[in-house]
């Protein structure tokens, strides 16, 4: 019940409203809702970086709690991978967006 009520409180992206262009975070919330519903394919399609992002956060919280010896390094790698996925996904979306509109 909690999961279905999340979709009533999603925040619209100000960048998209203002410019009509997607921002690098667009799709994040829809992807999260899809993941909570258990629809992994839909989640990955909407925002491929969601799962790496959540992984980085879980790693961060565990590291802050347990202070792993190489925790900071793992977080950096995990974040770098997430950032690359976010960036590539954003670029693909932008190019794809232009192609569909021309």
């Amino acid at each position: 019940m909690l999961l279905f009520s999340i979709s009533d409180y999603l925040l619209p992206c100000p960048v998209k409203q203002l410019t009509g262009l997607e921002c690098p975070g667009c799709g994040f919330q829809r992807s999260f809702v899809a993941l909570m519903r258990g629809d992994l394919a839909d989640s990955l399609h909407l925002y491929p970086a969601l799962i790496p992002f959540l992984f980085t956060w879980i790693l961060l919280l565990l590291h802050l709690k347990f202070k792993f010896r190489n925790g900071a390094k793992w977080i950096t790698y995990s974040f770098a991978a997430t950032a690359v996925i976010v960036f590539v996904n954003f670029m693909i979306k932008m190019v794809f967006n232009f192609h569909t509109h021309h």
Binding site: C13, P14, V15, T19, G20, L21, C23, P24, G25, C26, F28, A49, F53, T56, W57, L60, H63, L64, K67, G71, A72, K73, I75, T76, F79, A80, T82, A83, V86, F87, F90, M91, M94, H101
Partner: protein, 150 residues
């Protein structure tokens, strides 16, 4: 009766003024004053972890800012810059007395810096892309049709 003043004299060393004692215990030493103590030296005796070492100030905040910088709607360059500015401040405090801070928090500090740099660079590239699209393509398309179509 005559030996007792009617008020608590803070300058009287024999006077057990609770406020005065608390003030002295919690007051951090001035910056650069005590070379053998970290700036937040007052916390050192109270810290149960790390054998007297304290965390670098803001290390966790910098790390979180660095990680968040990539996702939130185009704010990457801003959050990344905040993380880097906070990093340089925290690094200066750390360098005053490296031995006083936990290695773990110093590693977190550096990780936050790297994440902030990545967020700043990728976020700036995305902003650059927006500017190119909105300025060049926006004016071109504006002459043909309304921007609303896109």
């Amino acid at each position: 009766m005559q030996n007792q003043p009617p008020y608590n004299d803070p300058n009287n060393p024999q006077n057990p003024n609770p406020y005065n004692q608390q003030y002295n215990q919690n007051q951090p030493p001035p910056y650069g004053g005590g070379q053998n103590q970290p700036p937040y030296g007052g916390q050192m005796q109270n810290n149960p972890y790390g054998g007297g070492q304290v965390d670098v100030p803001n290390a966790t905040v910098i790390l979180v800012l660095g990680i968040v910088s990539i996702v939130i709607c185009g704010l990457g360059p801003i959050l990344g810059t905040i993380a880097l500015v906070m990093y340089s401040g925290a690094k200066k405090i750390y360098e005053q007395n490296p031995g006083a801070y936990t290695q773990s928090s110093f590693n977190n500090l550096n990780a936050g810096r790297i994440c902030g740099i990545i967020g700043l660079i990728l976020g700036s590239l995305i902003w650059l892309y927006y500017i190119v699209v909105l300025v060049i393509f926006g004016t071109m398309m504006g002459s043909v049709s309304t921007w609303d179509r896109y």
